[in-house]
């Protein structure tokens, strides 16, 4: 995994983490909704920001699978290496 991707991704995610979950250490297993308490509306914002940041398109089916930070990283990585 490209460390640059991880950093850019975490920078996007951190914009939407509410105060109550800011202290949580992010790992690949961290769930956007249950762990980071990111609301479902902001989850869409994250997807749009990721599309812009990496100049990729995320389909609705792909979006549904991006429930954890690790799955998001894998998705971006797979799109950039095609």
């Amino acid at each position: 995994m490209n460390a640059g991707i991880q950093q850019r991704l975490e920078k996007i995610i951190s914009r939407y983490i509410p105060e109550e979950a800011k202290a949580i250490t992010i790992t690949d297993d961290t769930n956007f909704l249950s762990d980071l308490k990111i609301n479902s509306a902001n989850l869409i914002d994250i997807m749009l920001d990721v599309e812009d940041e990496f100049d990729i398109t995320i389909s609705n089916d792909e979006m549904d699978k991006m429930t954890t930070v690790g799955s998001a990283k894998q998705m971006v990585d797979s799109k950039l290496t095609v």
Partner: protein, 184 residues
């Protein structure tokens, strides 16, 4: 559940340009809904109205025996709702549902319920603990019973446990930005 409530504080949502609004719609709406939203004078506000209604319907129709994650684009709002006056009756999975939408202090509140009349209360939001205390206090007053406890089931759905009645009363609650709302 028999009730679903959602709130969107328009002062707390990030501003979106026309292109981002369109892309957002593509991710959360049907083609018909997106067309309606994008043709509206204030597309962003109408988008959040749709969003709040979808969340309210999801909460109201949530089946704890067959739990499903929220997927906004799988819940379609009848466009006729927006030309109806007052509450609106429609069917979701063959069950009648009453939808309503209102705006207070730049916040959108949506409700979905199996009953026509929904009682809901909007309060300022500071933190979760304070919200829970406010809800139990208000519910105890409303029910005229001193002991009321707010509980969540395994799926995270809130309800009021009233030991004196040995009854579990479903409620719905949401918070966003400056406000929280809960309905019974």
């Amino acid at each position: 559940m028999s009730i679903g409530i959602d709130i969107v504080d328009l002062a707390a949502v990030p501003a979106m340009d026309a292109q981002r609004t369109r892309r957002y719609c593509e991710k959360v709406c049907s083609a018909e809904e997106a067309e309606f939203i994008l043709a509206a004078e204030d597309s962003q506000k109408v988008l959040w109205q749709f969003w709040a209604l979808k969340e309210a319907i999801y909460k109201c129709t949530f089946d704890p025996h067959q739990p499903k994650a929220f997927c906004a684009r799988e819940i379609n709002i009848p466009i006729a709702f927006f030309s109806a006056k007052g509450g609106f009756e429609c069917y979701f999975e063959n069950a009648p549902l009453y939808l309503d939408l209102l705006q207070q202090d730049n916040a959108i509140i949506a409700s979905a319920s199996i009953r026509r009349e929904v009682e809901f209360y909007r309060v300022p939001y500071q933190n979760r603990d304070l919200l829970y205390k406010t809800i139990t206090k208000k519910a105890a007053t409303k029910l005229g019973l001193p002991r009321v406890a707010l509980q969540h089931n395994e799926q995270g759905q809130p309800g009021l446990w009233v030991p004196d009645l040995e009854e579990h009363i479903p409620i719905s609650m949401a918070h966003h930005g400056r406000f929280a709302v809960w309905g019974i």
